[in-house]
């Protein structure tokens, strides 16, 4: 299983029936492919849609129906559309139960940087700052390292997305939470040892006695 699949499948285990969930671009989008059977989850695209469905069949594209990445999608029965002020009211007002975003760095207290690399990449924060500040639960989906360097760091070098700590970081190696403001290892990926995670992580991690393997659910066809 590749890194993205591990991350997406693990995060899908966080879904609960009736949740309103916002998925960022990239790995987070994949989470929608692994919704556990029997759950009804609402997916929001922050450009103004709840009930985002998969990409349409050939010949059935509607250019006015896109996700937050600008990709043409479909709408599930019972979908709702709305303007951007309402969309961010849902986000800022805590109506989004969970948001899944990519990350560049997460510090030892759970603070996320994910919107710019000064001098290199200035894409802008888009909706990320509102999502991290406002969603009930913030989950970061990212590879554990970039170019061999840990993305879970003692202190963020990059500009923060929010001072609010995230709730969970899921990588292809580990699941990390931040109880009492300290990065804590909860789970390891199948075949990964605690020592592997510690070796790959810059930030000091509290290791719980009950570190266990990630639940990945059963694969559901996309």
């Amino acid at each position: 299983m590749d890194a993205s699949t591990i991350i997406a499948r693990r995060i899908a285990q966080e879904l609960r029936d009736g949740m309103l969930v916002n998925l960022g671009i990239g790995i987070p989008t994949l989470v929608a492919n692994y919704v556990p059977a029997g759950l009804h989850v609402f997916f929001q695209s922050e450009n103004g849609l709840i009930g985002t469905g998969p990409v349409p069949e050939e010949g059935m594209r509607q250019a006015r129906l896109t996700d937050a990445g600008g990709r043409v999608v479909t709408a599930l029965p019972g979908a709702a559309t709305f303007d951007s002020a309402t969309s961010f009211g849902l986000i800022r007002g805590g109506h989004v139960d969970m948001t899944v975003l990519g990350g560049l760095e997460v510090d030892v207290t759970g603070r996320l940087a994910n919107w710019t690399i000064p001098g290199k990449m200035v894409p802008g924060m888009g909706g990320a700052m509102d999502l991290v500040s406002g969603a009930r639960r913030v989950v970061v989906a990212m590879q554990h390292t970039a170019k061999g360097k840990s993305k879970i760091v003692s202190q963020c070098r990059l500009p923060l997305t929010s001072v609010r700590p995230v709730d969970l970081v899921v990588t292809e190696l580990a699941v990390i939470a931040f109880p009492n403001g300290r990065a804590t290892l909860l789970e390891v990926a199948p075949g990964v040892q605690v020592a592997d995670v510690l070796a790959a992580t810059e930030a000091p991690l509290i290791v719980r006695d009950d570190v266990h393997p990630m639940p990945l659910g059963s694969e559901v066809p996309a």
């Binding site: 849609l49 951007s84 200035v122 909706g127 509102d130 500040s133 406002g134 500009p159």
Partner: protein, 214 residues
């Protein structure tokens, strides 16, 4: 509301104007009006919009033509041309969190002096802004945004100017239609008055100044 030709509509907008433009990655952007601005070379614009779309698409056409002096947007990630112009100092780019951006535009249109938001507190977004602490929680005081013109893309407009948007092409459009001195609408369909039911009107007619003729 007055119905006017495309050329006349674009001619209302002078060099140096501030312009709010609907759309999210080009979806829900009035392409015809943009094309006409590019044809005329209306420059030195301040653009307030969610993003600058992609190179050669929607607002990306204005960027490519070098017509944008200043952009107040939430991201420019999919348009490297905007990034290049920013780095070259040709275009000032003010990045605003998307939820704050739309709320500032709404405040401008809804007659509010501003809104208080926790988004951006403790980040670079806070720089230069007043903060206020209420009941132990700190907020940024985010000020209203208004523009000289709003360029709105609608799915349908009736003869009076009532507007309806479709699916995710709605995005910023109904909000900017409240926040500009002059509102110019390009609608995909023009329909007789009464065809849009009162409950389905998303922008009421009195907000619309000009409808671009078909």
């Amino acid at each position: 509301m007055k119905t006017i030709g495309l050329g006349e509509a674009a001619s209302l907008i002078p060099d140096g104007a501030s312009v709010m433009i609907g759309g999210f990655m080009g979806v829900g952007t009035p392409e015809r009006v943009i094309d006409e601005l590019v044809r005329r070379g209306t420059g030195n614009l301040t653009v307030i919009a969610n993003d600058t779309a992609m190179p050669g698409v929607g607002i990306g056409k204005l960027i490519r033509a070098g017509l944008v002096r200043r952009a107040i947007v939430s991201h420019i990630g999919l348009n490297p041309e905007t990034q290049q112009q920013m780095i070259a100092g040709k275009t000032d780019v003010e990045l605003v969190p998307q939820g704050t951006l739309i709320e500032r535009i709404r405040a401008g249109g809804f007659g509010l002096g501003g809104v208080l938001t926790a988004t951006g507190v403790g980040t670079v977004v806070e720089k230069g802004k007043a903060t206020i602490t209420l009941d132990g929680k700190t907020y940024l005081v985010e000020r209203p945004l208004r523009a000289d013109f709003a360029l709105v893309s609608a799915f349908a407009a009736d003869y009076l100017g009532n507007l309806q948007y479709a699916l995710t092409a709605r995005n910023f459009n109904p909000v900017i239609a409240m926040a500009a001195d002059v509102v110019i609408v390009d609608a995909e369909h023009i329909v007789p008055t009464g065809v849009i039911a009162p409950d389905h009107v998303m922008t009421p007619a009195p907000l619309v100044d000009y409808l671009v003729a078909h």
